[in-house]
């Protein structure tokens, strides 16, 4: 890669403006095609039978009656999906999660599937499948599953990360630890100590579009998959591996995606749809119901977290300690590990230790939700920090400013920070008018900080210049929130042409090289980097063509504001050539002009945010009302500021829902009791105020324009900001999220 990604100071003409997105008109007229909006001739309807039991051995499945029902074209069980994972434990878990092999591990676990001529027949066929279960004791609570005498979910799991290896299996799949210094000695020196245990409940990303796909496997071994996903290349890889296909034979097209937030980074029903299509010899459309989405996709961890923080009289945090237990569903995970890395990342700490435990439970397999695992850790830490500030006698903002990490600070997870934005977000909050807004009776204000890593990853783009001089940009990162607009801006910026001259599309897996998923806030960060690189490659060719047209050496041609300019004394009088003119001549100067780029976009900048929340609590009912909310976050460089604001506001709203309402409720029978939007209540319009945003731009040194990821950090502070606001309003420290009315009342009565 001869592309230098480092940031250089420059002025922008396209980047930073707010044009209308290229996919906008289709989306406001109902023409945009999402997962369920695609059909194929002769398509069948696929449906999945799911276990009603939290933990059970599957003794026998009799599908004969279903198979005989007229209109049923294929019936499928795990026997139709042989294990091809070759000892790859992570892939085996994906396979087992798509279709239970020996045991049903949670309420909603897939056990069989059918494809039939219509939905009615498919539903009827599911009822005819007879499954014989042998029930096993189950456990759904993270603390109960952590206990030594808990029902064992997987007897091949021995805790890793401990020495020596344990001699018996348990529900704890991994222990991880981070930190530096001497925490115990530091704690002994502390003048003030806060020690608390916090709990958070499991939530769902709650994207409004259920998972949907259309699979078409042909008898010649080629196949197509239309699917809503955050990563069609990853889906292709996983599906091909699980089904024993060549990846290149499977073309995956990503539909418009109706929200993902991490939940559409994993295959759930797609391999099943492909297997059904292969068996039936016809296309199969498989759309999950909302009930299935809740029961059988990938919600967050439920957590239980112990925090102990000590400070000196002068307000210096002298030691910080946390033990974090995160549920990961019935398979090994690495969620507490991320919580342990992020927990204290906002602070400059001499002595810090975090220990994470991954805990298996009989619930669906955990998946990422925006900045995964970070919000729960931030809830615990930022709540304790607030309490500690009070004990020390400092304002919570000043206390955080005093202890905030800065350039050169050794992060609690190890490395030393480069230029970062935690200090500036805190200063901005301190001076924000929101902090001076008056509060009335039963009202409280809370603030909190949050951190997320952001990633880069494998990325590939094609920038093609048409003979009329307009530009098509093909990218491989799925657009989840307006990135096509941002990437068009970047291409326009780099080429020096107008935004209207660029059209960005998401390419399918057969027309572009491999791309990692749109996760880790990487979509705009990494694809903009690849786009800049592709544009620079195209400019190189444009300069060569101009040199040919002028018959001068290419070294004498520069590219300025969309034009080739001849320099040097001998040809200084040549009139400059526009991109359009060069493109028009391309047929006779060497053919089509394009720029390609294949990069690993490493060096994503870490991101920090600070949020402020005002809330009113009704002490009679425990009901809450968010009065004001402000997000301050570092974007590095906001490519399309409106969509950056949108990411801030959306993450904040999700965090508010998590803090106040949303939770998975399991009965004693291990069944999910609220698998629908009526009882799993996400915030509606009347629950929220306007969400104020302030974008800070502290350039990421590893991106040509200084861009950092922006998508995830906004969900990290709200749990704590809201909890601090509620605690301040009612005068009682809130320790359990969500702070639903009954929990607030209980806390008031305790």
């Amino acid at each position: 890669m001869n592309f230098d990604p480092s940031h250089s100071k420059r002025s922008f003409s396209s980047v930073g403006t707010r044009p209308i997105r290229p996919d906008g008109v289709d989306k406001v007229t109902g023409r945009a095609r999402y997962g369920a909006d695609f059909n194929m001739p002769g398509q069948l309807v696929g449906r999945i039978l799911r276990s009603p039991h939290a933990h059970a051995i599957i003794r026998k499945i009799d599908t004969s009656k279903a198979a005989q029902l007229p209109g049923v074209k294929a019936v499928l069980t795990a026997a139709d999906l042989p294990d091809l994972t070759n000892g790859d434990a992570a892939m085996y878990d994906i396979l087992d999660n798509c279709m239970a092999r020996k045991k049903a591990l949670y309420d909603g676990h897939a056990v069989a599937a059918v494809a039939a001529i219509d939905a009615r027949t498919a539903k009827q066929a599911l009822k005819l499948i007879e499954v014989e279960y042998e029930l096993l004791p189950h456990v759904t609570d993270v603390d109960q599953a952590f206990a030594p005498d808990a029902p064992l979910i997987n007897d091949t799991i021995f805790t890793t990360g401990v020495d020596p290896k344990p001699d018996r299996p348990s529900n704890v799949s991994m222990r991880s630890q981070f930190g530096h210094g001497d925490v115990d000695a530091g704690m002994a020196r502390a003048d003030f100590v806060v020690e608390r245990t916090f709990k958070t409940e499991q939530t769902h990303q709650g994207y409004i579009e259920p998972h949907a796909c259309v699979a078409n496997v042909c008898s010649d071994g080629t196949a197509d998959l239309w699917v809503c996903t955050q990563g069609h290349f990853v889906y292709r890889q996983h599906c091909a591996e699980l089904l024993g296909m060549d990846a290149s034979k499977l073309r995956v097209t990503s539909s418009e995606i109706g929200g993902g937030f991490g939940g559409k980074t994993h295959v759930w029903a797609e391999p099943v749809a492909l297997a059904l299509s292969r068996k039936a010899g016809r296309p199969v459309k498989l759309v999950m119901t909302r009930d299935e989405v809740f029961r059988a996709s990938g919600p967050t961890s439920a957590t239980s977290i112990d925090v102990k923080i000590g400070a000196l009289k002068d307000g210096t945090i002298i030691a910080a300690d946390a033990t974090l237990r995160y549920s990961c569903g019935p398979y090994a995970g690495a969620w507490a590990e991320v919580g342990a890395m992020t927990a204290f990342a906002c602070y400059k700490l001499e002595n810090v230790r975090t220990v994470g435990y991954e805990v298996l439970v009989n619930r669906p397999k955990t998946a990422a939700y925006r900045a995964p695992s970070a919000p729960m850790a931030a809830f615990a830490v930022e709540s304790a920090i607030d309490e500690l500030a009070k004990k020390v006698g400092m304002d919570p903002v000043d206390f955080r400013i005093r202890n905030a990490a800065q350039e050169g600070t050794k992060a609690s997870y190890g490395p030393v920070y480069g230029p970062i934005g935690i200090g500036p977000t805190l200063e901005a909050v301190k001076n924000h008018p929101h902090m001076k807004a008056p509060l009335g009776k039963n009202q409280g204000r809370g603030m909190a900080c949050g951190f997320w890593f952001n990633f880069g990853g494998q990325t590939c783009t094609d920038l093609n210049i048409g003979i009329d001089g307009t530009v098509s940009l093909a990218v491989g990162t799925v657009d989840v929130g307006g990135s096509r607009a941002s990437l068009s801006l970047v291409a326009a910026e780099e080429l020096g042409i107008d935004y209207s001259q660029v059209r960005t599309v998401i390419a399918d897996t057969s027309t572009l090289g491999y791309n990692d998923m749109t996760d880790g806030s990487r979509g705009t960060f990494s694809s903009s980097m690849a786009t800049i690189s592709a544009a620079r490659n195209a400019i190189k060719i444009l300069r060569e063509r101009a040199a040919q047209m002028w018959d001068i050496p290419v070294e004498d041609v520069t590219w300025e504001k969309g034009h080739a300019v001849a320099k040097g004394e001998t040809h200084g009088n040549l009139p400059k050539l526009s991109l359009k003119e060069i493109a028009a001549a391309s047929g006779t100067t060497g053919g089509p002009i394009a720029g390609h780029s294949e990069i690993v976009a490493d060096g994503a900048g870490v991101s920090f945010a600070t949020h402020i929340c005002d809330i009113e609590v009704d002490p009679e009912t425990g009901a809450t009302k968010v009065l004001r909310y402000t997000v301050v976050q570092d974007a590095g460089k906001a490519v399309h500021p409106t969509y950056v604001e949108g990411q801030y506001q959306g993450g904040a709203a999700q965090g508010i829902g998590w803090a106040l309402n949303e939770e998975y409720i399991y009965g004693k029978d291990g069944r999910l009791q609220n698998a629908g939007f009526l009882d799993y209540r996400i915030p509606v319009c009347s629950d929220l105020p306007m969400i104020d945003t302030q974008i800070l731009e502290i350039p990421n040194p590893n991106h040509p324009y200084g861009v950092r990821g922006v998508g995830e950090t906004s969900i990290v502070p709200p749990l704590a900001a809201v909890a601090n606001a509620v605690s301040n309003a009612v005068g009682v420290r809130m320790l359990h999220i969500p702070m639903s009315p009954p929990r607030i009342l209980a806390a008031l009565e305790a």
């Binding site: 997105r21 406001v28 007229t29 995606i257 929200g259 990411q647 939007f677 915030p683 009347s686 969400i691």
Partner: protein, 159 residues
């Protein structure tokens, strides 16, 4: 075998006829039989509003209405909002304010907002928030949606 019910109705100003089963929802009819996929199924239980349509001047969740109930009635869907290439002010303002991120909720919001403004051309922020409380959006935090509706209401009052 189930017998189909013949239904004749009017959709976005055009007469339409279809056959459907007695238990088939209007949402399924629109999407699967008539190819009008603007209305989305987010839940199928009346909780998300993604399937919102206007049925004889009433805002309804089409997942809770039977196809057979459309007999002799007028249906408005998102597909009927623009006049030719002229976007409805709500559509235009949703674009300008970036009131959509993923956009799956957008058809439902547009229809709900159209219904709201038809009944209350000059709503307060609170009236907009309560008027749209039957529609879920998971991406935007509603801020830009509310602003787009406010702005469109102004334009429509001026028009």
């Amino acid at each position: 075998m189930m017998v189909g019910i013949a239904v004749s109705t009017n959709i976005n100003g055009d007469n339409a006829e279809f056959l459907c089963h007695a238990d088939e929802t209007l949402l399924d009819v629109l999407r699967d039989r008539l190819g009008l996929m603007g209305a989305k199924e987010g839940c199928g239980t009346g909780d998300c509003g993604a399937c919102s349509i206007i049925l004889d001047d009433r805002l309804v969740c089409s997942c809770l209405v039977l196809g057979a109930e459309a007999e002799g009635r007028r249906i408005e869907t998102v597909e009927g909002m623009a006049q030719g290439d002229q976007l409805h002010p709500l559509q235009q303002k949703f674009l300008e304010h970036a009131a959509l991120q993923c956009g799956i909720c957008t058809p439902g919001f547009l229809i709900a907002a159209k219904d709201l403004l038809a009944k209350n051309p000059d709503p307060t922020e609170e009236e907009i928030r309560f008027g749209l409380a039957g529609n879920l959006c998971r991406c935007t935090g509603y801020d830009k949606i509310v602003r787009a509706v406010q702005d469109a209401a102004g334009v429509m009052r001026g028009a």
